[in-house]
Symmetry: C2
Subunit: 217 residues, 2 copies
Amino acid sequence: MLAKVKRNNYFRNGNVVIRGPKTKVAPRPRGRPRSEQARQEVLKAAYKLLSDKGFNAVGSHEIAQAAGVSSATLYRWWKSKEEILFDACFERMNPILAIPETGSGLTRLRRYILRASEFLTSEEGTVMARVLTGIHDDQRLRRMFLERYVNQRRQIQRAIIEDSIALGELKPTTDPELLIDMLSGPLFFRWLQGHAPLDKGFAKSIFDKVIPAFQTQ
Amino acid sequence: MLAKVKRNNYFRNGNVVIRGPKTKVAPRPRGRPRSEQARQEVLKAAYKLLSDKGFNAVGSHEIAQAAGVSSATLYRWWKSKEEILFDACFERMNPILAIPETGSGLTRLRRYILRASEFLTSEEGTVMARVLTGIHDDQRLRRMFLERYVNQRRQIQRAIIEDSIALGELKPTTDPELLIDMLSGPLFFRWLQGHAPLDKGFAKSIFDKVIPAFQTQ
DNA sequence: ACGAATACGAAACCAACGGTTTCGTTTCTA
DNA sequence: TAGAAACGAAACCGTTGGTTTCGTATTCGT
């Protein structure tokens, strides 16, 4: 019962196509160009509705109306309501999550975890939770979520951990994947399940209990 | 747009009302009694559909048809499709989750965690994940989930941990809530996010890394 | 045994939703 | 200026969650 895909310019980025070196600029297509404003209005409206009502409670016509756009336009550029909300979420998160963290070793790791716990409890964090739970039954969206959010976040942590190992702060036998899960898992647990508050004190406790298990000495 | 509640015998248990000592048997109501068979057929069908298609993909009429029951009957006894699926889930889980665990101390805790990881990866566990994510936007259902699942599970772990403290295996300063979250959180993390496999080896690693932080000596 | 009370199934019904399509208009390139 | 492609407005369709009606079945109190 799903819509047939008409186009797949889902990842199109304006008129510029990013390629390797010795690139030819992609020729601008013939007709009327896509309205960048419409795109932004859609994503903005979608995010607003998402944070107001939750993933399953927003309607596609509702998004169109709030964005001042026709339903046809929506489905010209997105495959489904879910993907609109999904994109809307990340359009907004990317700047928030981009951290040019500097410093070195365990201090950075600790900062990272504390920031993560802050983010999860923020307004944006709860929107993210709605997205994560809202897409759970859709295999395709889950994979995209892993690529666009989870894996990126893990890569950052992995890099920090590997630095810490190189600096001799963490044992060379440290398994970065295990350490990441031990640090983030408990935060995630409280975040989604809500059985207890997720505050900075909790994040600190986790860090202070987990790190010694991997520390040199 | 939610249905008005007509009755609230949501927790009715046949005709017997459980009370304290010196109980009067509740008088049987006048008319035709509720069909216990219909109730069970509904929950059975709902669980089947839930495990086949996912929380959001099952329709109320579909449940009615599969159970051989009219839509009217469905909404005479449940407020919404969500509550049917919710009940269906727990009707099935309760016997599975009831563990008369014996033994003592850290061995029990370890067994508990390994069993938990087994459960989460089982068929029933993935159904549970669908329920947990499916109800996330509904405050009321989330509270019920906490009461009927989360808190019960935590209570079991808490008891084991307190035993371990009393036995001198764990430090008297051990915070049971923190320890529970450190053990279960990482499992939960992989369970719902699926960035890496949740197997017995992982559960063991978690246990072996976490426990020393709370152990005497 | 009979009437009140209540549950039941069948099926019609409704509003809302996700998604599609048509059509006339607008904005761009060649 | 012609062809290409996006646009908004709005009708349209099939399905869904949920309600209601109605005639039937089952049980209790008397």
